[in-house]
Symmetry: C2
Subunit: 316 residues, 2 copies
């Protein structure tokens, strides 16, 4: 007994509107069209849906039950339309963002919160990815956006990279670290403390190698590795260990005053943090909106950093 969904909707409209004519008007149809639909539905069901010969149009119990289903169909249909409209305006839907762990934890997660204060109906699905997986995820349409530091020539065809922050690493330590008392640091000062190694596969890992070479030491004393940003900061705060971190990540934590910048010049990577996405990919207005939000947020952040550096002697 397969019923016509359109008929169920019309039945619901008629019962809700209190009459065939009104129900038809509610649906933007004419009264005869709806009248016939009701007849066809009744014929298919084989039971009366209305009490005959009653002017204030009275439905039977079965009529009410079918109308209830019709109502849910109507609302489902409306929700579908809303989803489309919301998608096109970028005010509804799902945005899947992949990103390198430290930046996601330090900055992007906050920005997701800010963004959703503006667009509460956009869902964000975050995942932790480094560059190779991110490219694969973008190509496989698993994510719309990637937050990743990337070298100038690393991006292949079909990808678009929007720079949001120049790459700049620093050596981080706890605020009361002994080395902060030194007037002028030398390379061997750094090697005399334990180091935190970033997550394997992360860009910071290769940066650490580079620093190693610039210091001229073949290996550092690495006693902790693999932690997320919160783990690393907690660890740094408790020990005299050092870590290579993006400056912006440390900056974002300045209010907590648990880590600071050790004034020692290290070689900078030729990379920029940015948003990676496919150019030929599907339109995803909500993702574009989110990307725009992230971009302007970082724009503001750059100004704040500049003001901060002009105002206080920080990390130098």
């Amino acid at each position: 007994m397969k019923l016509n969904e359109r008929h169920l909707m019309q039945l619901a409209a008629v019962l809700d509107a209190g009459g065939v004519s009104e129900g038809a008007a509610m649906l933007g149809l004419t009264q005869p069209a709806v009248s016939r639909s009701l007849n066809m539905l009744e014929a298919r069901v084989g039971e009366p849906l209305f009490v005959k010969g009653r002017r204030p149009l009275q439905a039977t119990q079965l009529g009410f039950q079918l109308a209830a289903q019709g109502r849910t169909i109507i609302t489902a249909s409306r929700k579908a339309s809303d989803a489309v409209q919301g998608f096109m305006k970028g005010t509804k839907g799902v945005v899947r963002v992949g990103g390198v762990p430290f930046f996601m934890d330090a900055m992007i997660s906050r920005m997701i919160g800010e963004f959703q204060n503006l667009e509460p109906e956009v869902t964000v699905q975050q995942s932790y990815l480094n560059l190779p997986e991110m490219v694969a995820a973008l190509e496989g349409n698993q994510i719309e956006l990637g937050i990743v530091p990337i070298g100038v020539l690393d991006l292949g065809p079909g990808f678009e990279f929007t720079e949001i922050l120049p790459g700049r690493n620093i050596v981080a330590c706890r605020p009361g670290h002994p080395l902060l008392r030194n007037r002028r640091l030398r390379a061997h000062d750094l090697t005399s403390f334990p180091w935190v190694a970033p997550l394997p596969g992360s860009p910071l890992m290769s940066d650490l190698q580079m620093i190693l070479m610039s210091i001229g030491m073949s290996d550092l004393n690495i006693r902790y590795s693999g932690g997320s940003l919160m783990s690393v900061i907690n660890y740094l705060a408790e020990t005299d260990a050092l870590a290579v971190l993006p400056f912006s990540v440390v900056f974002a934590q300045r209010k907590e005053n648990r880590v600071t910048v050790l004034p020692y010049e290290i070689p900078q990577p030729n990379r920029s943090l940015g948003i990676l996405r496919r150019v030929g990919g599907l339109r995803a207005p909500a993702a574009e909106r989110f990307a725009a939000h992230v971009t302007t947020s970082f724009e503001n952040l750059r100004h704040i950093i500049k003001r901060h550096e002009n105002a206080v002697v920080w990390g130098r």
Copy 2:
């Protein structure tokens, strides 16, 4: 942006089945039909619903969202079909029963419970009505069944009355009542105790008038009136008051041992308790089932009463 509900359902089926051909099969359609539907939906939406050129058919985020709505439409449609089937078999739906208060409280409410142990998907809406309102309610299709005591010629055309129990009233009192010690009761014994009057408008009220006349007294000492069955029984149990009650109602309470029958012959009304319904009315299989259940329950009750009367000296 009005979307075609049928298309949404087909989208859902395709995503659930994992392919156009499988989805089409699931809906009992051919692959080209569904393929075209998807194209039409996509054209209407104006956004891709599938990632092009992927063999394990991958939907876009928007595609998933629309499919979700399609799924709810499918389930609503299925529920509607189930409602029809259940209605025809009498295993689903709503049965609205009106009845005189004391019988509903004493007997029918229990039977509703028994019935729903067999048919858990049938909802019963009970209402308290006396004969005039009941006829109106049946005519206005507010109820399917009426439980009412009725005289032989009271029913008009278009109504069907199924007798379930002959009317038989008794005088009820508490088990320890002083009158129960009397070997042979006389009319003036009865008038020396206070009486409970039934709900105004109920058949029992006219029965009480009849008894009044037979006793030859113009008025009884009525000190309590208007209570439901539970109120009346509670009142009788606490006092030496007397009340006119249907025998079956008192019998149904025999286990509680709070009221009993005073062995005094009173004039019997020319009425029977039965089920009243319209003959020309709509088919309502669930109501028919319920009526059948009530009928057989009373059938059993009659036998129980007979056995009881043969076994014990009860109220005489």
